[in-house]
Amino acid sequence: MTVDGRYGWQEGGRVVPAYAFTRGRTRSAGEELPLEALVTATELATQNEPALQMEWRTIVNLSARPTSVVEIGAALQVPVGVARVLVSDLANAGYLEVHLPRPSDADGGPGHAILGRLLDGLRAR
């Protein structure tokens, strides 16, 4: 990614570039979070929300309902890699629960049971 701060918010006047509030990290250690991984704010996050730094607070507020890593990236106007780092930090601090996909067939797909439920859900719309 570039380091010229062009991922700063266009409105609201963030002047600190995205890499600064992830302390230079553009990826999290360990397993990459899938783009579609869902997060929900914990009770701890709700309690401590006013004391959190701005980006964390925004994420906690978004995650009052299930929100994916990719949605957080879009809302903060940062690349997905930055969103991954922020989400990882918040999860490790106990502020977010992360809900990962559940690969169940040989190719890592969702498997028969989940596909059946997906089909039912789509048909019911």
Partner: protein, 207 residues
């Protein structure tokens, strides 16, 4: 950071004592790729289905294998970003489906690899006036054994061809659904998703 020990589907992060497991909602994210050439209607398709206005995000070109620090150590290596559209459908109290519109060009296949991993399947949108744009996507999903449906987006003025002719021209495997649709119409787009998931479900039953 330790995601590895966490079992898939289980909430991770520090346990929060006041909320027992019973209070937790088990959520399962799902994804479907929407592929096709430039201007074929990917964003329109995602927008006609999504419960949120279609959003765009940036994906780093080298994010999967090389971080910014590593890139600095590789002379001449540059990192760029690619915009990607996505939408969301809450299917039921547990399942949330994401639709990812993926750039069709070969040079973006590094993104497809990540997106295809664990996906339900893919919709390949086709403009019959420019079928060449679809071959790369069809080949890719066939190679990866990812279930896919071919959706012919019927632009006004699109010539009508018999299904067999279209299948032939695009070299679509017999089992793969072919749908004639209008990406602007939510019902038509939903029918396309249903055709894909029916296909994926049938395939998951036959190992």
């Amino acid at each position: 950071m330790d995601y590895a020990p966490a079992r898939a589907g289980r909430p991770i992060g520090r346990p929060v004592g006041r909320r027992g497991p019973a209070a937790k909602r088990e959520l399962i994210p799902l994804k479907i790729l929407v592929a096709g050439g430039f201007g074929v209607g990917k964003t329109t398709f995602v927008g006609s289905l999504s419960e949120i206005p279609p959003l765009s995000t940036e994906q780093e070109m080298t994010a999967l294998s090389v971080g910014v620090d590593d890139a600095a150590a590789v002379p001449g290596k540059t990192t760029t970003t690619v915009a990607m559209d996505f939408g969301r459908i809450t299917v039921d109290h547990q399942l949330i489906l994401y639709l990812f519109g993926t750039p069709g060009q070969h040079r973006f296949w590094f993104m497809w690899d990540e997106l295809a991993r664990g996906a339900v399947g893919a919709v390949v949108l086709v403009d019959l006036r420019r079928v060449d744009d679809s071959f790369a996507a069809i080949d890719y999903f066939e190679d990866r054994r990812l279930p896919f449906a071919v959706a012919v987006n019927q632009f006004p003025g699109t010539p009508a061809f018999p299904e067999a002719t279209v299948r032939d021209a695009l070299a679509i495997p017999p089992a793969c659904p072919l749908v004639l649709m209008d990406a602007r119409d939510p019902r038509s787009s939903l029918d396309t998703l249903v055709a894909l998931v029916e296909h994926a479900l049938a395939r998951s039953a036959t190992p």
